[in-house]
């Protein structure tokens, strides 16, 4: 177990004007499962590769267990990494793949055999030990890659989108296996993904990145409920948070033709007479019979998904569309006008210009 601390970490590639990783500050605690989440090209993988020692650090500092390791080569950082491609050595058997890292560390042969058998038993690889990688299925290869990391008993585990090459059902079961593994080992893990479901279900905390910068760090539900800006709001959730242009006037929120009374607390943060972005999760919109605190909207599309119904609606007096997660028995039709009541205790207000959350 170890801590990992990134202090103003930067990466600039040769011949590139922009920073690929831009002053990233991140402190990963002992035994924490930290997920780096973001769209492709946001710098999350580069950050992970700098932690692994596979990319040089342009500026800033990286410490593992309090010791700055900027100049320490990958092999001396005592980390293990699981690659998206698994990176199994094709000319070696599963047993040799698992033992390869231990042999380098001059561990006694009997001890290597014991550890390999131990890990193979845990991951169900015992019958496959003498096979070569080409004779394994995707899921089996994935487990070998995982085993290769575990058998080393490293200070920190790094994962670079390890599930993205698996099919959907295998991904769900492997996800559960990884969560169990983290609980059992209690190890510090840093996990890169662009899949928000993985991030939400696995992470102790999520670090959301965009354009090389950290946008928000927090527990999954906290990040989901209280996104720091419109990027996080629209990146997390499926469908994502609805973001609608709105203004505040005379203590009321103007949303198209509707006027919603805001709580004093919300009003205090929103100020008066300014352009805002009103954010509300689809599940925080309830169908109502109209009246105070609700607004009218026309149904433009309906997606009955069985467990729930997602309706797309156009707000009265506005071109803005939003999604509402209605109950599975919701009986709405395209063209119909209904009333929706947002849960004002859960809405987010963002500055229209900067996109930063106000409340």
């Amino acid at each position: 177990m170890a801590t990992v601390t990134l202090d103003k970490l930067c990466k600039r590639y040769e011949k590139s004007h922009d920073l690929a990783v831009d002053h990233v500050d991140l402190a990963v605690a002992h035994g924490e499962f930290m997920v780096l989440l973001g769209p492709s090209g946001c710098g999350k993988s580069t950050t992970l590769r700098m932690i692994a020692g596979l990319e040089a650090i342009s500026s800033g500092s990286l410490a593992i267990d309090g010791r700055v390791v900027n100049e320490v080569p990958a092999r001396d950082r005592d980390i293990a990494m699981v690659f998206q491609s698994y990176a199994l050595y094709p000319h070696m058997t599963v047993r040799d793949n698992l033992a390869f890292g231990l042999r380098r560390r001059r561990i006694d042969g009997a001890e290597i055999a014991r550890r390999v058998d131990d890990v193979a038993g845990t991951l169900g690889l015992a019958p496959l030990l003498e096979r070569k990688p080409f004779a394994l299925s995707g899921g089996q290869r994935q487990r070998v890659a995982l085993g290769r990391a575990i058998v080393r008993d490293p200070k920190v585990f790094l994962f670079d989108e390890p599930l993205s090459n698996l099919d959907a059902s295998l991904r769900v079961s492997t996800r559960a296996e990884l969560i169990r593994l983290h609980r059992r080992l209690g190890a510090t893990m840093i996990y890169v993904t662009h899949d928000q479901v993985e991030a939400m279900t696995m992470g102790s905390r999520i670090c959301i990145m965009n354009h090389g910068k950290v946008v928000q760090i927090g527990a999954p539900l906290e990040v989901y409920r209280r996104p720091a800006d419109t990027f996080v709001a629209s990146f997390l959730g499926n469908p994502p948070m609805n973001l609608v242009k709105a203004t505040v006037e005379n203590g009321q929120l103007i949303l198209g033709a509707a006027r919603l009374a805001l709580s004093p607390a919300l009003l205090a943060t929103a100020g008066t007479a300014r352009a805002l972005t009103f954010g509300v999760r689809p599940e925080d919109l309830a169908q109502s019979s109209g009246g105070e605190g609700s607004f009218g909207a026309e149904v433009t599309a309906v997606e009955p998904l069985g467990a729930e119904t997602i309706a797309t609606l156009r707000i009265d007096g506005s071109e803005s569309e939003l999604n509402a997660r209605l109950g599975r028995d919701a009986n709405v039709k395209v063209g119909e006008r209904i009333h929706l009541r947002p849960d004002l205790g859960r809405v987010r207000l963002f500055d229209a210009a900067s996109g930063v959350a106000l409340n």
Binding site: A74, A87, P90, G101, R152
Partner: protein
């Protein structure tokens, strides 16, 4: 229709086999006949099999020395070529450094020079360094001559090995040199076999450099030894054929031993 297609293919294969194996077979029969028998009828089947021509060539016509010289030069050159070529190819394929492509191009561009252009310069250099008329000199020339194509073949193979493997090995604690020996080389075995066979066959049969750079009788390689039987007035066709067979047999053996790897190397796809 299916049968007709099969017949056409079989016929084409037979013609090709006759074309490729015919001369070999002819030389094989001549190697067991005397020159006077051959002069009487070029294509006749050997009446008496003169197996004694082989020990005769080996012991009395100095073929044992030629064979040893060829073996020494070719084996040393191929070992150096394989190691140096693989190391260079590994670096060109794996490491980003300034002028990487420039150096690669410089090495590769030497392929376009025919040996006739370089041979006078090489002759001068070898004389200056006291390597003229020596097997070490010939070995070095062979290495220099075959290195570009070796690097070219191996580089394209190394470049297809996924970079993640090297990074995984780096994290597993291995140095760059250890990664070369334990990851690159074993994975590139099919490509290595291809270059080993190509270089062995080419250098085993090499004549031009050998005839210019070697003058001593006891330093001749096999192709030069065979040339000894070609006089101004007459050619000892019978002994030439026997010499050719002695020269060909190792090549055939090597091909038989490595051919599967050769085909693998030529058709190798991505290493997944």
């Amino acid at each position: 229709m299916h049968r007709l297609q099969r017949a056409v293919v079989l016929f084409a294969l037979c013609v090709f086999t006759a074309f490729a194996a015919g001369p070999f077979f002819w030389v094989a029969t001549m190697s067991l006949r005397t020159t006077s028998e051959i002069s009487r009828d070029h294509y006749a089947w050997p009446g008496t099999l003169h197996w004694n021509k082989f020990p005769d060539a080996w012991f009395n016509s100095n073929y044992s020395t030629y064979f040893q010289n060829s073996l020494l030069v070719v084996v040393s050159a191929v070992i150096i070529l394989t190691l140096v070529g693989a190391m260079a190819a590994h670096c060109f394929a794996r490491y980003r450094f300034k002028l990487n492509r420039f150096f690669y191009f410089i090495i590769f561009s030497t392929i376009i020079f025919p040996p006739q252009i370089t041979i006078i310069a090489l002759f001068q250099i070898l004389v200056q360094y006291g390597l003229f008329n020596s097997l070490i000199g010939l070995t070095l020339v062979y290495v220099a001559f075959q290195l570009p194509i070796t690097v070219y073949i191996l580089e394209s193979f190394f470049a297809r090995i996924p970079g993640d493997l090297f990074e995984a090995a780096r994290i597993d604690g291995y140095s760059e040199m250890a990664i070369f020996w334990r990851i690159s080389l074993p994975i590139a075995l099919p490509a290595l076999s291809t270059t080993i066979i190509l270089n062995t066959i080419l250098l085993w049969n090499e004549f031009l450099y050998a005839v210019v750079l070697i003058t001593d009788e006891d330093k001749r390689t096999l192709p030069l030894g065979i040339q000894r039987f070609m006089g101004d007035q007459m050619e000892d066709i019978g002994m030439i054929s026997t010499g050719l067979m002695i020269a060909i047999i190792p090549v055939v053996l090597i091909y038989a031993f490595f051919s599967e790897k050769l085909i693998q190397g030529m058709t190798a796809g991505a290493v997944k």
